[in-house]
Symmetry: D2
């Protein structure tokens, strides 16, 4: 899709971070947000919907919200403020890890949880690379 | 990215709409939401920020919010309710058109507006294809 | 809370709509978004979580997303574009009605659904008043 | 508005935190999210829109997004995971502080910035009280 990279190439000021790392992180965040929304809905449609799936639905909903907001905040380069961006990306790493762990536990019997878990792991790693690049 | 298609392939119930059309629409929506967020930020960083750019920033902010919410609502297949999904997708078509028009007017001198305008047009068209497929 | 009214009183331009009607609608939208998020979570925590509750969780999630985005779009007065705002508020009316109907059906045995249903009805009505005021 | 408290009173399980503190935090978060959206729009409508206001618009946009997502995540009590909630509330404290500082600097000549700054301070404090109550 590389659309984030194409947009960042047109940014009228200079960056506070490597634009390639930033573009990959934005792509990982919006993919993870979308995958988590789809996984929560997949769980909700399971014929065996029961309290056993409540944790997965809850974490996928949180992770979708947090990744979506993080994608917006890191996309904004104007007057960058590390006090806003850094703690949020750290919170996103932690949310992706929790969701990946939970979905990973259901991966064998629900394929949407397997794909979602992989998406959360990639996003967790992309956010950590962004944090390193922001140093 | 084709991640939406991969997730839809694992959905545990049957669909109320063609899954290929739906997957393409989800991808167009999340790309457009991201591009609009980046375009609003690009405008905000322009050295010539003035009231002339207020309309573009405002419409990009609206379009980002509406496309993001629409991507979530159409992703949810569980207990589909046309009274929720259809008017929202129609509102999204209209928002994408307004934003594409406004950004298109700045396309010659701001490259982020040119790319954003194209992204909004693709999203407008994808949403219209989804509306046709939902009939 | 009347915070929206207090903020609108400081808006540096003139309004395209009655500010009192707008302020009440913003308050109804953010209350409804919050109530729907809490109702979806209440359903998810019910000891009897089963496919019977999937529709309620799904509609509350949609309604929370749509009311939240609508609250942002109607809050923005800069360079007002009726083609963006009006169809979205209409979509919000329809989403609130669907969610109120579904939660209303559970009102007798789940108190969170009763309160959520009332909140959706108030929001539906506030949005309709805004639509009339926008004429 | 006290709607969050009324909803929390109907929650079908027990809480991991004092419900009164949680309700006040939810109210502060949704008020702050709304106020920041209105302040960004107020700035955008200022006759003197220039690069001097870019930082304020950017931080208000971030703070609106972060407070809105935080209000959703703390509202979810089902299968509470401190690894998700705590870092996000900490990130929200930091975002509210940055936005309050920036808007506070414009408070004398833009009334929307004065009200927004106060709203961010209240939200920062409410989030810190929630963090203490979560211990």
């Amino acid at each position: 899709m590389a659309k984030a990279q194409e947009m960042l190439d047109t940014y009228p000021r200079s960056f506070n971070v490597d634009a390639g790392v930033l573009a990959r992180t934005i792509e990982a965040l919006i993919e993870c947000a979308s995958t988590c929304t789809l996984c929560a809905d997949g769980c909700l449609s399971e014929p065996g919907l029961s309290p056993d799936l409540a944790k997965c639905i809850r974490l996928c909903s949180d992770c979708a919200d947090i990744c979506s907001t993080t994608s917006r905040v890191v996309s904004r380069q104007t007057e960058y403020d590390a006090n806003v961006t850094r703690p949020l990306v750290e919170a996103c790493v932690s949310a992706c890890r929790s969701c990946a762990d939970e979905c990973g536990g259901h991966a064998e019997h629900m394929a949407h949880c397997r794909i979602c878990s992989e998406s959360c792991r990639r996003c967790e790693q992309a956010c950590q690379e962004l944090l390193s690049a922001m140093k």
